[in-house]
């Protein structure tokens, strides 16, 4: 029941406000690399805002965890594209993701204290869920290069872990 609800919610996120819905065709490897890298960078930026604004230790620690992991994934991603001689290619999905994150950041900038903490952590849950869905249903199945696919699969486990971590922090804020 819960699983079905979560899946339905993820599907809604994906179809509704999700930037991924705008991707028309199957993305190419250079586009996938760009999307995955961008998804990490955007979460790092959100975390930096949280570290600046939040006074809650759990929230700040969580944000630091996000920066550490996503920077580590992206170091691996950059190493891989260099090795494969692939140039990440900007695309509609990356642009839509970036735009959505900018809007969220502007919204969060107006909040303070507990209201900020809750909005940040709730958005982290939603954001990771959205990226999980995209990795599972679009990016991983579309990836042609085996090493890229493998890195995306590790990325998916990281994102799924963060989603659960964010849910745990959200539970503590209540």
């Amino acid at each position: 029941m819960l699983i079905r609800y979560t899946a339905a919610l993820a599907a809604l996120l994906l179809l509704g406000t999700a930037p991924f819905a705008q991707a028309a065709d199957k993305p190419t490897d250079p586009q996938i690399a760009h999307i995955a890298y961008t998804a990490g960078v955007l979460d790092v930026e959100a975390a930096k805002q949280a570290i600046k604004k939040s006074k809650n230790k759990e929230v700040v620690d969580f944000a630091k965890d996000m920066i550490r992991d996503h920077e580590a994934v992206n170091v691996q991603a950059l190493d891989l594209v260099k090795k494969l001689k692939v140039t990440p290619e900007n695309n509609a999905t990356s642009k839509a993701l970036t735009k959505a994150a900018e809007e969220e950041r502007a919204k969060l900038a107006k909040l303070k204290g507990a209201a900020f903490d809750k909005a940040y952590v709730d958005n982290e849950v939603a954001y990771h869920k959205q990226v999980d869905g995209a990795l599972e249903t679009l990016l991983i199945p579309s990836a042609q290069n085996a090493e890229l696919k493998s890195l995306l699969e590790t990325g998916l486990k990281i994102f799924q872990g963060h989603e659960q971590h964010a849910e745990h922090v959200a539970g503590m804020l209540k």
């Binding site: 992991d69 994934v73 872990g161 971590h165 745990h168």
Partner: protein
Amino acid sequence: MPKRPLWIAMMLAVGIIPAQAETIRVTIDKLVFSPATVGAKVGDTIEWVNKDMFAHTATVKGGWEVMIPPKKSGSLTLKAAGPVDYFCRFHPNMKGRLVVAP
């Protein structure tokens, strides 16, 4: 193999000298503890070897926690018997289990 003095053999036989404590290795690769379930006994040491570029933990809810930095290892000497489930606090989807005999 060197011959053991008789008194050691006798103490072993009556269980005065406990069995040799072992170090049991659990590898972490791509966010997976393997083996996921490990059998051990009190006094053994579990060593988690992290092959990932990510920091992980082995955490027991309401119990101990071992930090396992990227490309490093962390260890713990088992003090209590019983089965214990642990997870990674940073990535709660990572799960492992120790079955500790007395």
